[in-house]
């Protein structure tokens, strides 16, 4: 069920319930009141009649009659009975002759006075004892108010309630359309956005805060998606470039060699060049495969508790073999006293690979100038800092350096194919760490690697 319908049904049901309770309570209390009020009026007439018949002399009787005629309006079908009853046994006969309900007379007889209703006629009676026996003073009348006014009230309440429910239905429909229209607009707009027109954005609706938040959320999502798509496009062009260069070299070499007959030395030379380029191709594809594998092999990695200072020393030894002319300085000045704070939970091979990658880059792009590796630890993070004095990265290119195959514009003179840094970042990421890079062109690069301290 759509939320428009849900909201309208809920609203209509709740408002109808409220209307129903309001109407029925008005009706109930008013009708209760009208009964009580009508009996009071009968009672007043009974007491006037009683006074008139039993307690007054001639003069008072005239006054009472005047009062009754002037002030007590005649009720519809009003009748007054003064009935003499010699004893209780004659009550039945008395009731029959005056067509009064016998139950009523018995009630009056036992309770001294009583109210009674038969059909739409109301009775009030009082027993008056005298020396000769007792009398019943009874006044009966039709409750005109009850029969007419209450029925009218019932009709008004029912009709009013029904009409207001119709109005509510109309308004809920109107309002829900009004409130859901922007959402429908968003849906159509979002549906119209595809990879071809990913630059499109939703119009921000300043009137409603929630809708506005929704559109900004969508727009932010679109921004991220656009960047991801951009990165993907970059990746393809960079990758084809990286694969293309050695292939062009191979094709060129082969072409030139086939132009005419060559000596075996020349063939050997050509084959050697082709082999070199093929090895390069092989290396690229293997490292690409490795990069892709790290992502989905995450669960299968062997994790162990490792000491970061040992990792750095091992990476340093590897560096000494890889680049014997390196100028790496290890700075353990700020090492914490407590060795527990140097321990991390991670995969040894991958972390060493990440550190050697960073160090290789640092040595390569600084032409073996000094590289300082520092290690320290806060209470929950291990901080490794790598500083080099190399060529740096142009600031405008910093956002792209983690894209596979991306190479900064100033690296043409250096060998490489742009896999190392993304690989390193992936490794740090799967260890729940952070890699922060800052750089100034021609002055060097500073890389901060933060890894969470292992909980022992």
């Amino acid at each position: 069920m759509s939320s428009i319908r849900k909201i309208s049904i809920l609203l209509i049901i709740s408002i109808s319930l409220i209307l129903f309770f309001l109407g029925s309570s008005v009706y109930y209390f008013l009708s209760n009141y009208s009964y009580a009020d009508f009996y009071k009026r009968l009672e007043a007439r009974v007491s006037v009649a009683e006074k008139y018949h039993f307690e007054s002399n001639q003069k008072d009787a005239q006054v009472l009659k005047n009062i009754r005629d002037e002030h007590l309006e005649l009720l519809s079908n009003e009748r007054e009975y003064i009935l003499y009853c010699p004893n209780a046994n004659s009550m039945k006969q008395l009731a029959d002759t005056n067509s009064l309900p016998i139950n009523f007379l018995t009630l009056v007889y036992t309770q001294q006075f009583a109210n009674f209703q038969k059909d739409d006629i109301f009775y009030h009676g009082k027993k008056r004892e005298t020396s000769k026996g007792f009398y019943f003073v009874v006044v009966s009348a039709k409750n005109y108010y009850n029969t007419h006014h209450l029925i009218l009230l019932k009709k008004v309440l029912l009709a009013g309630g029904f009409i207001s429910i119709l109005i509510i239905i109309y308004f809920t429909y109107l309002f829900s359309n009004y409130f859901f229209e922007p959402i429908n607009k968003i849906i159509t707009k979002v549906n119209s956005i595809s990879t071809d027109n990913i630059h499109l954005r939703l119009d921000e609706n300043k009137k409603t805060v929630e809708i506005n938040r929704l559109t900004t959320t969508f727009n932010n999502l679109l921004n991220r998606v656009e960047i991801a798509i951009e990165t993907n496009k970059n990746f393809i062009s960079n990758a084809s470039h990286e694969f293309g260069t050695p292939l062009t070299a191979i094709i060129g070499e082969a072409d030139v060699a086939l132009l005419k007959d060559r000596t075996s030395v020349e063939y050997k030379e050509t084959l050697q060049k082709i082999l070199n380029q093929s090895e390069r191709l092989n290396k690229i594809s293997q490292s690409l495969l490795f990069l892709a594998q790290i992502g989905y092999k995450e669960n299968k990695l062997n994790y162990a508790i490792l000491r970061t200072d040992e990792l750095i020393m091992q990476a340093y030894e590897i560096m000494n073999q890889l680049i014997p002319k390196n100028n790496i300085e290890i700075d353990f000045d700020l090492l914490p006293e407590n060795p527990k704070k140097l321990k991390i939970h991670g995969n040894k091979e991958l972390l060493i690979l990440a550190i050697t990658n960073i160090l290789t880059n640092a040595c390569k792009y600084s032409s073996n100038k000094q590289v300082v590796v520092s290690l320290a630890s806060t209470n929950n993070q291990i901080v490794m800092i790598f500083k080099d004095q190399g060529i740096g990265i142009p600031e405008s290119e910093l956002p792209f350096i983690f894209d596979p195959f991306y190479r900064a514009s100033n690296t043409a003179a250096y060998d490489g194919y742009g896999i190392g840094l993304p690989l390193t970042q992936n490794i740090i990421k799967i260890h729940k760490g952070e890699l922060i890079i800052s750089s100034e062109l021609h002055k060097g690069v500073k890389i901060q690697v933060k890894l969470p301290v292992a909980e022992l």
Partner: protein, 158 residues
Amino acid sequence: MLNTILIPIDFRIESLNTLKYCLEERKQEKSSVILMYSAYSSDSITELLFYNPDKIIEALASSNFNDAIDIIKNKYESSLHSFKIELFHGLNRNAFINFYEAQGIDLVYLPRDYYLKPHKNGFDPIPLIKKSKVQYREVAWTRGHDTIDKDELNQLFK
């Protein structure tokens, strides 16, 4: 012997080098350290009414700064007896001497080549300290002249 040491800071990581070199120098003994940040006190009555030094310190200290402090604390865990950051609102020598005595300070360490660059409402207390005729030592470190590091952890390292 336990000494209480005062070090003025500006809530920038580079100013913590004074702390680092001070603790390096006093590795053999235990010290309590008080870092002091100087700021003019507010003249708004409502701000004074809700004056809370912890809140001010919390607002001034960046997460990198706290990391840097943690790094130093971890490094000198055994020689650092206690550590706290205090605000100093005084403007003259007497106020500083009052603060100095109230905190029971034995020695002040100052940076020699580094000039404190306090944030808004803050001021550099070093001239005041030097004028106050209290015992102080100056430490120096080689400063990186690069402008890359705005306020990064790097500044604590070589």
